[in-house]
Amino acid sequence: MSQGSMILKIISLPLSILLICLGVMTILGGHITPGGGFQGGAMIASGIILSVLVYGLGNSPLELSHTYVEVFESIGALGFIIFGLIGLFLGGFYLYNVGTDLLNVVPAALQNVLHYPDVTNAGIIPYLNIFVGLKVFVGLSAIAIAFAGFKKLVEESE
């Protein structure tokens, strides 16, 4: 199911890689610039989708396996919930920012572990962005890969 011309095939993988890097940058700047997990994840997924559309399913250099999608979708959802529960047990309410700890109720050692290492005092917000980004990236990519697979099935049955 190869669809693109040679020019498209030569330019798509480099563009996909740059799009993915831009998506990662958007995820990691979510606490300080516009963007965040969802937007960055969608940008990464757009890189994968570009590659799958141009090279076709089965020939794409960037293609996610079923296990990969399962694992990272689960890690994204579970990570978010676990960080929420850490806040619930230590701070008293769900998604309490234990890395910043405005109420001074979290032990200092744990606060240091969960504090995102940068110049801002963001706490666990970047981690939540990363988990959301992972989940959105594999989720949107899986949708596009599934549609490409359905199309391939229809073409084969005709």
């Binding site: 190869s2 040679m6 095939k9 030569i10 993988l13 480099p14 890689i17 740059l18 993915i20 890097c21 831009l22 990662v24 940058m25 995820i27 990691l28 700047g29 300080i32 610039t33 990464i44 090279y55 076709g56 089965g58 020939n59 794409s60 250099p61 960037l62 293609e63 996610l64 396996s65 990969y68 990272f72 995102y116 290492p117 940068d118 110049v119 801002t120 970047p126 990363i130 980004g133 992972l134 990236f137």
Partner: protein
């Protein structure tokens, strides 16, 4: 100068995760080592033009973008699947 480690560490991790899924030698488009050198140079130029996040005064280039690019290449070299 205080180096912000967050974007570097997590950019590398996310790059490794995504780079592990790159596989070459499929289809009829060939990418050689020179292609990836060109992509890396273009990536450095893009990172420099983007600049770093606000309040991050360690480097004049986007460390998250560059870390992700390096992570993708390292992930491809370490974990990439063959067809």
């Amino acid at each position: 100068m205080m180096l912000s480690l967050g974007p570097i560490i997590f950019g590398l991790i996310l790059g490794l995760i995504i780079g592990s899924q790159i596989k070459l030698n499929v289809g009829d488009a060939k990418f050689t080592l020179a292609s990836f050198v060109v992509i890396f140079i273009v990536g450095i130029i893009v990172a420099w033009q983007l600049g770093n996040f606000p309040f991050y005064t360690d480097l004049p280039i986007s460390t998250a973008f560059l870390a992700a690019l390096i992570g993708i290449f390292v992930g491809k070299l370490l974990f990439a699947r063959s067809k």
